[in-house]
C-alpha cells in the first residue's frame, strides 16, 4: 500500500516543478553591458566591428606583388595603448581532432589549435579577409598557373631560435601527404605535387633561403589560397626540429606564430605563451589557454562567473548571455553557408558499377527522383527560408542563392539575387503541383540529420525540413548520422540516392566549394552534378589564372546550378562568439578561415 509520506513527496515534487516553471517568467534580461549599446547587443555586433564589405574581393591576378603590409593589420589606437594582459582563457568545444600536427586532422581542427603557434606562408587580413603578406612578402604565378613562386621574409626565427628558411616549406608540405595524414588537403596536395615525399620534394623547391617555388602537376589558380591555409593545412614546421628528433619531436612543436606552444592535455586544455618578438604582431596577453568544455551550459557558466573571458556559445543562449552582461561579437565577413544537399544527382558519365569495392549500383541511376529538376525545385519551394532565418538564426542570416557562391566573391551573377524569390520562393502549393506533374508525388526521401561545428541549429533545421517536406506530400524518414559515417557510407562511395542532408561551408572562392560538392570523378567528394558541363566549367575555372576567364567559368557554372536547382541553399551566417566586455577590449576576426575564430594575437584586454 502506498504510504502517505510517499504521496506527500510526490505532490511536493510536482509542486516544486511547477514552482520552478512559474519562476521563469521573472527572469528578465538585465541592463546592457558597460560600453555596449542595446542595439549592438540585439544585433550581436562587435563593439569595433564593421559590416562585411559589399564590394567584390580583389580577383586573383596572374602576378601578385605586395611588398608593404596591409594597413588594416597595423595596430589600432586601442592596441597602441593596450596594457599587457595576463592569461586569456577561451572556453571552446573540444575539436573533432585534438592535434598539434596539422596533417592529423581537418582544417578546422588545425586552424583552431595549430594556427596560434605557427603561421602559414600567407596571412589573412583580419578585417576584409584578403590574402596579405605574412611569412611570404610577395608571390607570383606563371601564365598557365603551373608554377608559383613565394618570396619569404629573412628575419623570422622559430621559437627555439633557429631561423625560418625556404627549406622548411617543402618539409612542411611533405607532412601533409604522410601515410598517416588525414588532413583536408592530403588528397589535393598529392594531386598537385605527388603521391610520395620524393616526388613532392622534386616539385616544391627552395631556390634559396628566402625563395620557394611550387611546380604543380596540373594548373591551379588557388595556390596562394592554399598557402594561406584558410581552408588548408600548410602550416610551417621546423625542418631542423624534425631532423633532430623525428616526427615525435612535433609532440612539442616549435613554430613561427605569435604564440608559443606550451602544453596540452587531451580533453582538458591547450596552453600557449606569448611570443614577444613576433614579426607581425605579438599578443596582448602573456598567455592564452583553450579550455575544452563540451557542455554548452558549462561554457556559459564559466563565462558568467569570470573563469573565462571568451566562449563559444550557441545562438539559442545569446539572449541569456547578453542578459548577464556578456557581449556577442560576430565575424567581419559572412563565415558559414548553410544548405541542404540533394543526393543522387550524379554525372551520367559515372553510371555503372561502383568504383569502390563493396558497393554496387552506385552513382548515376536512371529513374532517381532527384535527377528530375522539377523534384529539386519542389524541394526548394517547400522550404521556408525566411522562417528558418528568423526563428532559428535570429534573423542574422543573409540571402544565399547558389551553394558555393557569395556576392562578394568572383563568379557571382547578380541575376541570381534578382530572380531568387521568383524561382526559389516559399510556395508549398507550387511544390505539390511540381511533384504531381513530375510523377513523384509522395516519393520516399531520407533526411539525414547531422551535427556540424559552428551551426548548432543543424538538427532543428533538419527537423523543420521534415515538417516542410512532409507538408507537400513527400514521404520523409529521418536518420541521425555522424558526419564521418555519412562521408564513409554515403557520399564517398556514391550512395546518396534519395537523401537530403544539411551541410555547411565557409566563405571561400567558389571553386573550393565546388571541388568538394560538384566535381565528379575522384576529384570530387559529393559529386552533385546537374549537368555534364559541370566538370568542364569547373576545370576551366580552376586551371585558369586569368581572373576574367575564371570568373566567367564560375559564373556559367553557377548559372547551371541556379537554373537546375542543384542544391537547396538556405542562408549565409557570420561566425559569433561571446565575450566578457569587462575583460576584453578589442576583438576582430574575418570569419573566412575555417575555424570559429582566429587572429587571437590581436585581442586586447579591456582598459
Amino acid at each position: 500500500m502506498v504510504k502517505p509520506t510517499i504521496i506527500t513527496v510526490m505532490v511536493a515534487a510536482l509542486l516544486l516543478a511547477i514552482g520552478i516553471a512559474c519562476g521563469g517568467t521573472t527572469d528578465e534580461p538585465s541592463a546592457p553591458a558597460s560600453g555596449q549599446t542595446t542595439e549592438q547587443q540585439q544585433t550581436g555586433s562587435a563593439p569595433a566591428a564593421t559590416e562585411a564589405p559589399a564590394q567584390p574581393a580583389t580577383p586573383i591576378p596572374t602576378v601578385i606583388a605586395t611588398a608593404t603590409p596591409s594597413p588594416t593589420n597595423t595596430p589600432s589606437a586601442a592596441q597602441e595603448t593596450a596594457a599587457l594582459g595576463g592569461r586569456l582563457r577561451i572556453a571552446t568545444i573540444p575539436p573533432v581532432q585534438q592535434l598539434v600536427g596539422s596533417w592529423l586532422g581537418t582544417t578546422t581542427s588545425a586552424n583552431t589549435q595549430v594556427r596560434p603557434f605557427t603561421d602559414p606562408l600567407v596571412h589573412t587580413d583580419r578585417f576584409d579577409g584578403s590574402l596579405v603578406p605574412g611569412l611570404a612578402t610577395e608571390w607570383e604565378a606563371n601564365e598557365d598557373g603551373t608554377q608559383w613562386t613565394f618570396h619569404l621574409r629573412d628575419d623570422v626565427n622559430f621559437h627555439d631560435g633557429t631561423p625560418f628558411t625556404a627549406n622548411d616549406v617543402p618539409h612542411s608540405a611533405s607532412l601533409i601527404i604522410r601515410e598517416d595524414a588525414i588532413a583536408t588537403d592530403t588528397g589535393l596536395f598529392r594531386g598537385l605535387f605527388g603521391d610520395d615525399e620524393a616526388e613532392l620534394l622534386s616539385n616544391i623547391v627552395a631556390l634559396d633561403d628566402s625563395t620557394v617555388q611550387f611546380n604543380l602537376k596540373t594548373p591551379n589558380s588557388l595556390m596562394d589560397f592554399f598557402a594561406g591555409a584558410q581552408q588548408g593545412n600548410l602550416f610551417m614546421y621546423s625542418k631542423a626540429q624534425y631532423d633532430d628528433g623525428g616526427i615525435e619531436a612535433y609532440e612539442n612543436p616549435t613554430g613561427v606564430g605569435p604564440w608559443q606552444f606550451v602544453e596540452r592535455t587531451i580533453d582538458v586544455n591547450l596552453l600557449y605563451s606569448r611570443n614577444a618578438d613576433h614579426y607581425r604582431r605579438s599578443p596582448f596577453f602573456e598567455e592564452m589557454e583553450y579550455v575544452l568544455i563540451p557542455e554548452e551550459t558549462t561554457r556559459l557558466a564559466q563565462l558568467t562567473t569570470g573563469q573565462v573571458q571568451i566562449g563559444e556559445i550557441s545562438r539559442e543562449l545569446h539572449t541569456d548571455a547578453q542578459g548577464q552582461n556578456l557581449a556577442v561579437l560576430q565575424s567581419e565577413l559572412p563565415s558559414i553557408q548553410v544548405a541542404f544537399i540533394i543526393g543522387g544527382v550524379y554525372n551520367p558519365e559515372e553510371a555503372g558499377p561502383c568504383k569502390q569495392e563493396g558497393f554496387e549500383d552506385c552513382f548515376y541511376q536512371e529513374g532517381d527522383p532527384h535527377l528530375n529538376p522539377m523534384v529539386r525545385e519542389a524541394i526548394n519551394r517547400a522550404i521556408n527560408r525566411e522562417e528558418i532565418n528568423t526563428e532559428l538564426f535570429g534573423g542574422i542570416g543573409r540571402q544565399h542563392t547558389v551553394w558555393g557562391y557569395h556576392p562578394a566573391l568572383p563568379g557571382y551573377n547578380p541575376r541570381w539575387t534578382e530572380e531568387f524569390d521568383e524561382k526559389y520562393g516559399y510556395d508549398p502549393d507550387r511544390a505539390r503541383q511540381l511533384l504531381e506533374e513530375s510523377g513523384y508525388a509522395g516519393y520516399d526521401l531520407t533526411l539525414l540529420l547531422t551535427e556540424l561545428p559552428g551551426v548548432p541549429e543543424m538538427i532543428p533545421m533538419g527537423e523543420a525540413a521534415f515538417s516542410y517536406l512532409s507538408a507537400v506530400g513527400i514521404n520523409v524518414t529521418t536518420q541521425p548520422i555522424k558526419w564521418s559515417d555519412y562521408r564513409a557510407k554515403y557520399y564517398r562511395p556514391g550512395k546518396t540516392h534519395g537523401t537530403l542532408a544539411a551541410t555547411r561551408g565557409t566563405y571561400r572562392p567558389a571553386d573550393i566549394t565546388l571541388r568538394f560538392y560538384n566535381r565528379s570523378g575522384d576529384a570530387g567528394f559529393w559529386r552533385t552534378s546537374v549537368d555534364p558541363m559541370t566538370d568542364v566549367l569547373y576545370d576551366k575555372a580552376t586551371q585558369s589564372v586569368d581572373p576574367e576567364v575564371k570568373a566567367k567559368a564560375l559564373s556559367d557554372l553557377g548559372d547551371l546550378k541556379f537554373d537546375l536547382y542543384s542544391e537547396v541553399p538556405i542562408v549565409w551566417l557570420p561566425a559569433q562568439i561571446v565575450v566578457n566586455p569587462a575583460e576584453i577590449g578589442e576583438m576582430a576576426w574575418p570569419g573566412n578561415i575555417n575555424a570559429s575564430f582566429t587572429h587571437t594575437e590581436y585581442i586586447t584586454p579591456a582598459q
Binding site: M1, A21, E316, P460, A471
Partner: protein, 310 residues
C-alpha cells in the same frame, strides 16, 4: 487496585447508538476498500502513460512529429506568451510538447512491453531449464548470465548503433540483451527451491515428462516472482530507453521519445526561454518510473511474501 465499573450507564448506551448509526457510507466503504490498493500510482499511470499510449492519436491536440517554426519555443499556457493551444508549450521546432509526451508514452509502453516480454520469456525459460537440469546446463546458462551482466550497456548500445543506425528495434535488442539474465538468475534460484518439493517427485513418479514438469509444475510456482520483477523492470526500461535516446543511440528524431525530448532541450535547461522543453518529459519519466516502482513494491508484497521479508 480498583475494579473498573463495567455497568452500562445511559451515556455509554448513547455512544454505542451513535457509533452504530455512523456506519460507513458507500463512499466511505469504497475508500476503505480502495486504500488497500495503490490507487495513486495506478491513477497516475493511467493518466500519464496508459491512456495517452492507447489513445494518443485521438486525444493529442497536435502532430507529434511536425510543427511550425513560427510557434517555436512558446511557453506553457500560464506564462506570458503562452496560450491554451499549446498547454505545455512548444519545442525548438515548434512542436507541441504535450502531444509529443502523449505519443512518447506509446513509444515507451511499446518498447517496455516488447522488451520485457521477450526478455522475460527467454530468461524464464533458460532459468527453469538451468535450475531443473542442473549440471553442465546450469553452469552454461549461468556463465552466459555472468557474461550478460558484465557487458556495459551503454557501450553495447553504441556498438550496435555504430554498426547499424538508431532505431526502436535496436533499443529493444539492447534491452533484451541486458535484461534476460535478470530473469534467468531469479527463476533459476526459485526453480532450485521448487524442484526438491514433494509434488515434483510425485510428478516424476507418475511418469510426467520433464517438459510437463517444468511448465506445468515449476513455472506456475515461479510466475509470481517473474511478474513482480517485470513490473519493477518497467521503470528501469523506461529510464534506460530515455538514456539511450538522450545519448542519440536510441529512438531517432523526430519520433517522440521522452529521453530524446529531454536531450533536445538540454541546451536550454537553464534558460528562461526554453526550460519547459526538457522539464515536462523529464517529469513524465520521473512520475511513471516512481509509480511503476510503487506498484511493483505493492505487487511484491501481495504476490511474493518471501521477498517482503528481505
Amino acid at each position: 487496585m480498583a475494579t473498573e465499573n463495567r455497568v452500562a450507564t445511559p451515556s455509554a448506551i448513547e455512544e454505542l447508538a451513535v457509533e452504530s448509526s455512523a456506519r460507513p457510507s458507500f463512499l466511505g466503504r469504497f475508500w476503505a476498500e480502495a486504500r488497500r490498493y495503490p490507487l495513486f500510482p495506478i491513477v497516475l499511470l493511467l493518466v500519464v502513460l496508459v491512456i495517452p499510449a492507447i489513445f494518443s492519436d485521438i486525444i493529442a491536440p497536435h502532430s507529434a512529429t511536425t510543427g511550425s517554426l513560427s510557434a517555436r519555443l512558446q511557453p506553457p499556457f500560464w506564462m506570458e506568451g503562452g496560450d491554451t493551444n499549446h498547454l505545455l508549450g512548444t519545442d525548438r521546432v515548434g512542436r507541441d510538447i504535450l502531444s509529443r509526451i502523449m505519443h512518447g508514452a506509446r513509444v515507451s509502453v511499446t518498447i517496455a512491453a516488447v522488451a520485457i516480454f521477450i526478455a522475460g520469456v527467454l530468461g524464464t525459460s533458460l532459468g527453469i531449464i538451468a535450475g531443473y537440469w542442473g549440471g553442465w546446463v546450469d553452469a552454461l546458462v549461468m556463465r552466459l548470465v555472468d557474461i550478460s551482466l558484465s557487458i556495459p550497456i551503454i557501450l553495447l548500445a553504441l556498438v550496435i548503433v555504430a554498426a547499424t543506425q538508431p532505431s526502436i528495434l535496436n533499443v529493444i535488442v539492447v534491452l533484451v540483451l541486458l535484461m534476460w539474465s535478470r530473469y534467468a538468475r531469479l527463476v533459476r534460484g526459485e526453480t532450485l527451491a521448487v524442484r526438491v518439493q514433494d509434488f515434483i517427485s510425485r510428478a516424476q513418479v507418475a511418469g510426467s515428462s520433464h517438459r510437463r514438469i517444468m511448465f506445468r509444475h515449476v513455472f506456475p510456482n515461479v510466475f509470481n516472482s517473474v511478474i513482480v520483477l517485470a513490473t519493477l523492470n518497467v521503470g528501469f526500461v523506461i529510464v534506460l530507453e530515455a538514456t539511450l535516446s538522450f545519448l542519440a543511440v536510441g529512438i531517432p528524431p523526430p519520433q517522440p521519445a521522452w529521453g530524446l525530448m529531454v536531450a533536445d532541450g538540454r541546451v536550454l535547461i537553464a534558460s528562461a526561454q526554453g526550460w519547459w522543453v526538457s522539464l515536462f518529459p523529464g517529469l513524465a519519466i520521473m512520475l511513471v518510473v516512481l509509480c511503476m516502482n510503487l506498484l511493483g513494491d505493492w505487487l511484491r508484497d501481495r504476490l511474493d511474501p518471501k521477498q517482503r521479508q528481505v
